[in-house]
C-alpha cells in the first residue's frame, strides 16, 4: 500500500478511493447515530437479550396436531404471543425443568398478558401419541398446548424455526434419548419469531425478557 502510494502514478486514484471510502463511512456513522437515537426512544434493540431485530423470522404455513387431535397451524399462532419449546415426554431432566419454569413464568404473566400461549412441540412423535401429549402438557398446566402428529408434521415447524433434533435410537429401541433444542422461541401475534431465550432457563428472567421484547415490538407499530 505504501509502495503504491509513493508511486505518483497511483497517488491520485488512490486518494480518490480513500476520499470515497471516508465519505461513505462518515455517512454510515451518521446513519448509525440516528438509528441509535431512535432506539433509545423506544428501548434499544441491542440491550434486549435474545431479540431478533430488525430481522424477525416470519413463519409460514405448517401442519401439526395438538393434544386434542385438532390440526394446529399458522392460523393458531396469529393474534397471540407464543412461547415454543421442543422436547419429548420421556426426557427426564431438561424438558420437565423447562416446562415447570415456563409454568411459573406463565402464572406470573398470564394475569396481565392473557394473549400468551405456551406450546410444547414433541420431536418424538412416534412415542408421544396425542393422548400422551395431552397427559404431559396438562400435568404442568391445563392451558398448555402440546403439538405432534408425525415426523413430517413436526418437521414442518422445526425446519422453519431451525430447531434441530436427533433421535439416538440406533440400538436401544425402547428407551432411546433425543437431543433437542434447549431454547424457548418467542413469537409475536403476526407469527414472527422475534426472540429466543437460551438455556439454562429461569422463570423470573423469562418473564422480564418477554415483557421487554413485547414492549419493544409493540413500540414498532
Amino acid at each position: 500500500m505504501l509502495r503504491i502510494l509513493s508511486n505518483s502514478k497511483f497517488l491520485i486514484p488512490a486518494m480518490a478511493i480513500l476520499a470515497i471510502f471516508a465519505a461513505g463511512s462518515g455517512f454510515y456513522i451518521s446513519l448509525k447515530q440516528s438509528q441509535n437515537q431512535q432506539n433509545s426512544a423506544l428501548g434499544s434493540s441491542q440491550s434486549i437479550e435474545g431479540l431478533f431485530w430488525p430481522n424477525p423470522k416470519q413463519i409460514h404455513e405448517f401442519n401439526t396436531l395438538d393434544q386434542t387431535g385438532n390440526s394446529f397451524g399458522l392460523e393458531q399462532m396469529q393474534g397471540k404471543w407464543s412461547f415454543v419449546f421442543f422436547g419429548y415426554t420421556h426426557c427426564p431432566d431438561v424438558c420437565p425443568i423447562t416446562m415447570s419454569v415456563m409454568n411459573e413464568s406463565y402464572k406470573q404473566l398470564n394475569i396481565k398478558h392473557s394473549d400468551l400461549q405456551i406450546i410444547f412441540v414433541s420431536v418424538d412423535p412416534e412415542r408421544d401419541t396425542t393422548e400422551k401429549l395431552a397427559q404431559y402438557v396438562t400435568y404442568f398446566n391445563d392451558d398448555f398446548i402440546g403439538l405432534g402428529g408425525n415426523t413430517e408434521m413436526v418437521d414442518s415447524l422445526t425446519k422453519q424455526i431451525g430447531a434441530a433434533y436427533f433421535l439416538n435410537n440406533e440400538e436401544q429401541k425402547e428407551n432411546y434419548l433425543v437431543d433437542h433444542s434447549a431454547s424457548i422461541f418467542i413469537f409475536d401475534p403476526k407469527a414472527r419469531m422475534v426472540g429466543k431465550l437460551s438455556a439454562p432457563h429461569d422463570s423470573a428472567k423469562i418473564t422480564a425478557q418477554f415483557i421487554k421484547i413485547k414492549d419493544f415490538i409493540n413500540a414498532q407499530y
Binding site: D93, V94, S100, A164, N175, D179, H180, S183
Partner: protein, 158 residues
C-alpha cells in the same frame, strides 16, 4: 401387588445389610426423585454425595428394587442443543462433594415398578469401585421453580 413391592423393599434392605460392605466415608443427602407426568417411564433423581475420607471414591452403579435400571447421566447444552451423556462412573474426590442437580449430573431411573407420586419413597443403593455400598431412601417430589441449574462449585464450600 402391594405385598410384592413391600417384599422387594424388605429383601433389598436385608440383603444389602447382610452382604454388602457399607461405605462409611460417603454421606448422601437431599436424595429426591422428580415426580414424572403420567405415563412417563424415565425419571430423574438428584442427591448430594459427600466424601469425608482422604481417598477418592468412585461411584460405579446404583440399584433400586423399584426401577429396572439406573444410569448416571450428565445433561449438557452444546450449541443450544440439550444432550444427555451416560457416565460409566463418577469420581468423588477426597474431602469433596459432587451434586446431582437439575440440568447437570442426574440419575436416570428406568421403568418404575408402579407409578410414583410425590411423597412416595424408593430405596437406592450406591455402589462404589471398592465394592462398598451405601443405601438411602429417596423421596419423590414435584419440581418447583428452584429446580433450575443448581450446578454450583462445591470446592470452596466448608
Amino acid at each position: 401387588m402391594h405385598n410384592i413391592k413391600l417384599f422387594l423393599i424388605l429383601f433389598f434392605f436385608v440383603s444389602n445389610s447382610l452382604f454388602a460392605d457399607e461405605n462409611k466415608s460417603i454421606h448422601i443427602s437431599n436424595a429426591w426423585i422428580s415426580e414424572a407426568p403420567p405415563n412417563v417411564y424415565i425419571l430423574a433423581a438428584y442427591a448430594e454425595l459427600k466424601n469425608t475420607s482422604t481417598e477418592t471414591q468412585t461411584l460405579v452403579s446404583i440399584t433400586s428394587p423399584l426401577f429396572s435400571m439406573i444410569e448416571i447421566h450428565l445433561s449438557k447444552i452444546i450449541d443450544e442443543t440439550a444432550k444427555m451423556e451416560k457416565q460409566k462412573s463418577l469420581i468423588i474426590p477426597a474431602n469433596d462433594s459432587v451434586e446431582f442437580a437439575p440440568g447437570a449430573y442426574h440419575l436416570m431411573l428406568f421403568s418404575p415398578e408402579t407409578p410414583m407420586k410425590a411423597g412416595d419413597t424408593a430405596p437406592m443403593t450406591f455402589i462404589f469401585a471398592d465394592g462398598s455400598s451405601k443405601t438411602i431412601e429417596a423421596v419423590v417430589k414435584k419440581r418447583n421453580n428452584h429446580s433450575h441449574d443448581h450446578n454450583h462449585d462445591h470446592k470452596n464450600n466448608h
